[in-house]
């Protein structure tokens, strides 16, 4: 049973490193989808990309700070 749980954990780990970051990414995707549906503008794709890039910078910097504090 514990082996199955460990395997399940590894499966989830394929997509999730940090749950907060994952929630933020999902919110960005959901928000972008709503924006596309409302505006039908190609800029919605660009906005999604910028936000995803920004979250990458933010969360890597946050993790680096966390690790340096030990």
């Amino acid at each position: 049973m514990s082996a199955l749980r460990a395997a399940g954990g590894q499966l989830v780990g394929m997509f999730v490193t940090d749950w907060r970051q994952t929630v933020v990414i999902v919110l960005i995707l959901a928000g972008s989808w709503a924006l596309v549906a409302a505006t039908h503008s190609p800029l919605a794709g660009a906005a999604m990309l910028v936000l995803l890039g920004a979250q990458l910078v933010y969360f890597t910097m946050a993790e680096a700070r966390r690790r340096s504090r030990g």
Binding site: A3, M14, T17, Q21, I25, W33, G45, G53, F59, T60
Partner: protein, 241 residues
């Protein structure tokens, strides 16, 4: 031409990285406990994986509408790619250690001391199954969203064949493979492909169609390099040239 290179290249690189990790596990068991149990475990994992992927893959492609497949698979590829890119940034910035296949091999070797053949079989099965699942995900995700599953499968298969052949010849961990740089590249590619398809599934029409992925990749490369530079700057580590 661009789409062909991206599909094959991404599937090849991503599958190669995962295959190297699976190979390390099988080699550690084989060189420690003999070859029968790890090879049997690896073979069993491949059979189970092929069956699962074959069944679920067919069902998914046949039942799920194209736009939903793009949003769902694109989002999962994006999450997968961003996870790799996140770790690649931290490795490049020196925050976490680089992946060292020799070290992974030695750790597993010491864990296996005194273990039975059944344990060797299970470790090999689990390692090959989980790494193989990532290969299958990369190949299926990249291939199904571009409606070019055969090309993606060819890239994945080519990578597995190359890694297994080299590993069988050398009989030691492929520590000289630039795994960390490859993970960085695959992280950028998968994040870009996932972003492109998820947005397309939502209804976005990207300018220049598939070529836009190159622009998206350039953006992620710049963003990740900015993160590396800022983190290294704060740690007082000079940015690599």
């Amino acid at each position: 031409m661009v789409s062909t290179l991206l599909v094959f290249g991404t599937a090849f690189l991503g599958s190669a990285v995962e295959s190297v990790e699976a190979l390390t596990i099988v080699l550690a068991v084989g060189l420690t406990r003999g070859w029968r149990s790890p090879l049997a475990g690896a073979a069993a994992a491949v059979v189970v994986l092929a069956a699962l992927v074959g069944i679920f893959g067919q069902v998914l492609v046949a039942v799920v509408p194209d736009w939903l497949l793009k949003v769902a698979i694109g989002s999962l590829i994006l999450l997968f790619g961003l996870r790799w890119l996140h770790k690649a940034v931290l490795r490049s910035a020196g925050v976490i250690a680089l992946r060292d296949e020799q070290e992974a091999f030695r750790e597993l070797e010491s864990e296996l001391a005194g273990a039975t053949d059944w344990v060797g079989f299970l470790i090999s099965f689990k390692g090959v199954f989980l790494e193989g699942l990532e290969v299958a995900f990369i190949v299926f995700g990249v291939g199904s969203s571009t409606h070019n599953l055969p090309l993606a499968a060819a890239g994945g298969l080519a990578a597995v064949v190359v890694v297994v052949a080299v590993g069988a010849a050398l009989r030691k961990p492929l520590s000289r493979v630039p795994e960390n740089q490859m993970k960085y590249a695959v992280g950028v590619l998968l994040s870009s492909l996932g972003t492109f398809w998820a947005a397309e599934g939502m209804g976005v029409t990207w300018p220049f169609d598939f070529v836009a992925i190159l622009g998206i990749a350039a953006f992620y490369l710049v963003a990740s390099q900015v993160a590396v530079a800022v983190i290294r700057g704060r740690r007082g580590v000079p940015v690599a040239a």
